[in-house]
């Protein structure tokens, strides 16, 4: 099945594939430490390319969002890399009393049924609603399924820490390369705008249709929810009439309310994945609340495989013009 890899001691180690999509953008730090701790050889798929996306579109079920479709393309890519296992964690809940999008729960099963001849899919369950013991057992079982000893599994879990800590990364680091090579290198960013969308959508240049690059070209400094303290977000979630049970969607709603009250933010750009359940409900709620709470301009764009880049650019440009003229 595979070209056998060996570690420094000449012992063969399994090649484990991981998709650079969806949960990669939320918890990769944890899974990398876990796999490193086990001593596996990691095969990470490259950043989404147009070919990978079109592969994914052919394989995926119709009614998923674009990032999920891209995930299929990544899994397909891994099948050509002679990996022994594909690690597709089953994310259920990352915060107490909440769930993550159900597509994350079904991901391992979706990949098993759709991708041609996949290597065995290993699907440890990440669910903070379960006891610590059961969470640990899930990671132990996954290690054992890949042929690692209980001892190395214990060490790996120790090393990786908790899967529930969030990867704190601000969008500015992602935009830097754009500024370096783009057209606006010398100018100071004229406007600061909050860009709100799932990290797996925004951080992927292909699924986000180059939105971050386009903004850099338009002299906009994007700010994302990763730059906001969790405590602040929690505060905005508390005074809602009903508890939001989608953790990620709730964070976006809270961030929209937070940014709309900040004086240094010139506008809010809401980026939705077409077909995303939580976006369609909470995105709408966020828009209404922002409009109610004040005069912060908000633009909502929806992305799917049919979005033309031209239409997106026109809207972004018109929105930036609108904000700029208003300021003058």
């Amino acid at each position: 099945m595979s070209a056998v890899s060996r570690n420094a001691d000449g012992v063969s180690v399994p090649r484990v594939g991981f998709c650079r999509a969806l949960l990669y953008h939320i918890q990769w730090d944890f899974w990398k430490e876990y796999l490193d701790g086990l001593g596996a050889e990691i095969v990470l798929s490259p950043p989404t390319s147009k070919e990978m996306l079109s592969d994914g579109l052919k394989l995926a079920v119709d009614d998923t969002c674009l990032p999920v479709k891209a995930f299929y393309g990544h899994a397909q890519w891994l099948t050509t890399e002679a990996v022994d296992f594909m690690l597709v964690p089953r994310l259920v809940s990352l915060e107490k009393h909440t769930y993550i999008c159900p597509k994350f729960m079904g991901l391992p099963d979706m990949i098993r049924t759709a991708v041609a001849g996949p290597p065995p899919v290993i699907d440890p369950k990440i669910d903070i609603r379960q006891s610590a013991l059961r969470q640990r057992a899930s990671l132990m079982n996954a290690a054992s399924d890949m042929g690692f000893s209980p001892r190395s599994a214990r060490e790996a879990i120790q090393q990786a820490g908790s899967p529930y800590r969030r990867k704190m990364r601000t969008m500015s680091s992602r935009v830097k390369p754009a500024l370096k090579c783009g057209h606006s290198s010398s100018k100071q960013s004229a406007m600061k705008m909050a860009v709100l969308g799932h990290p797996y959508l925004l951080a992927d240049d292909v699924t986000s249709a180059g939105l971050m690059w386009a903004l850099a070209d338009m002299d906009v400094k994007p700010v994302t929810l990763e730059s906001v303290d969790d405590e602040i977000l929690q505060e905005y979630l508390q005074d809602l009439p009903k508890k939001v049970f989608w953790s990620e969607g709730g964070r976006l709603l809270a961030a929209a309310r937070h940014f709309s009250r900040r004086d240094d933010i010139d506008g809010i750009i809401q980026v939705n994945a077409f077909g995303c359940g939580s976006d369609s409900l909470l995105g709408e709620e966020a828009q209404r609340r922002v409009r109610q709470e004040g005069s912060c301009p908000i633009l909502s764009v929806s992305l799917d495989e049919h979005s033309g880049e031209a239409g997106l650019l026109t809207r972004l440009e018109a929105f930036c013009d609108m904000v700029k003229r208003k300021k003058q």
């Binding site: 090579c181 783009g182 690059w213 239409g311 026109t314 809207r315 018109a318 609108m322 003229r325």
Partner: protein, 332 residues
């Protein structure tokens, strides 16, 4: 007298406006794009050159519309701006206290909400072009009616037939069905206008704060049936400006003037001589990095005039050579 040129290259029509320094429209040209945006721009330049004096002085050029980039590099535009901003600026010029702009063009429709002469909100149709000019065009030719008379037909009756306007394909099936069961053409056309207005207000206009004064512009604003349907649905007068078909071009000329006065510089306009020059475009994929940018090139009379489309400036070359300079170069 100095003049400014505004060019709006849309999916269906290409419009040019020659505007004087004191913001009066000296000439407007409305042409069908017919799939060849640069050909249409050339034709427009020719029509202006034929009607105006030879020593016409152009101080700035603006382009807008979906073909704004290519038209901009072709003519050597000073300002290249999106059609939402251009349409808003055009509307404010003609009706300074406008609060709502309804704009329906060949393949897109938009709504712009203004307050004190500043855009505060807007929306544009997304993947669906139901209810735009090309749909009306198609229905007119299917019924064997000139598009110019199509809207007037709707005014001949008080009876409207209920047409499903959610999707252009289904609307057409519905219209055919209503014909087959014996409804008159005027009633069907009126039903069609009502359906399109409903669709527009529920999609593009969803959640928007629509207040008078309302301006209706774009090619579809020539359709009396649509104007009547909007007035009925919104319950107030809908104002169609004199230059409704070329509002984008007017806005674009105004933007060019504003920018040239803000930052005075010589225009990069290549000159009216462009109308008779040969051009061709080419494209290739840059393989220098994984971005794989699609690079476009335009050649005017065999010489590379501009290259664009990359994320970095590796291939950029937008230095414009005026027609006169080129002519001098050719003589030598």
């Amino acid at each position: 007298m100095e003049y400014y040129l505004g060019i709006d290259v849309g999916s269906v029509s290409t419009n040019l406006v020659l505007m004087s320094e004191d913001e009066e429209v000296r000439q407007d040209v409305y042409l069908r794009t017919a799939g060849q945006p640069l050909r249409a721009v050339q034709q427009g330049l020719l029509e202006i050159a034929q009607q105006q004096d030879d020593d016409l002085q152009i101080s700035g050029v603006g382009t807008t519309g979906s073909g704004r980039e290519i038209a901009g590099v072709f003519v050597g535009a000073d300002v290249i701006k999106n059609e939402i901003t251009a349409h808003a600026i055009g509307a404010i010029k003609l009706i300074p206290d406008v609060r709502t702009v309804l704009e329906i063009g060949g393949q897109d429709s938009k709504i712009i909400i203004l307050n004190d002469g500043v855009v505060v909100d807007f929306a544009m149709n997304t993947v669906c072009a139901a209810g735009t000019g090309s749909f009306l065009d198609r229905q007119a030719s299917r019924l064997g009616v000139d598009i110019e008379d199509f809207g007037r037909l709707a005014l001949q009756t008080d009876n409207s037939v209920r047409i499903a306007g959610r999707c252009a394909v289904f609307a057409e099936s519905d219209m055919i069905h209503k014909q087959q069961i014996g409804h008159s053409n005027p009633a069907i056309v009126k039903g069609c206008c009502d359906a399109l207005v409903r669709n527009y207000l529920n999609n593009v206009g969803k959640g928007k704060d629509i207040r008078p004064p309302i301006v209706f512009q774009g090619g579809v604003a020539c359709n009396e049936g649509m104007i009547a349907a909007f007035e009925e649905e919104l319950g107030c007068e809908v104002f169609v400006p004199e230059y409704n078909k070329v509002m984008g071009a007017i806005g674009s000329a105004l933007l060019a003037k504003e920018d040239m006065q803000h930052e005075p510089r010589p225009t990069s306009f290549r000159g009216f001589g462009l109308h008779s020059m040969d051009y061709n475009t080419d494209n290739f994929e840059c393989e220098d990095c994984p971005n794989r940018c699609e690079i476009l090139e335009i050649y005017i009379d065999g010489d590379l005039a501009a290259r664009w489309g990359g994320r970095c400036d590796r291939w950029d070359r937008t230095d414009t050579v005026s027609v006169e300079e080129k002519a001098v170069g050719a003589d030598n």
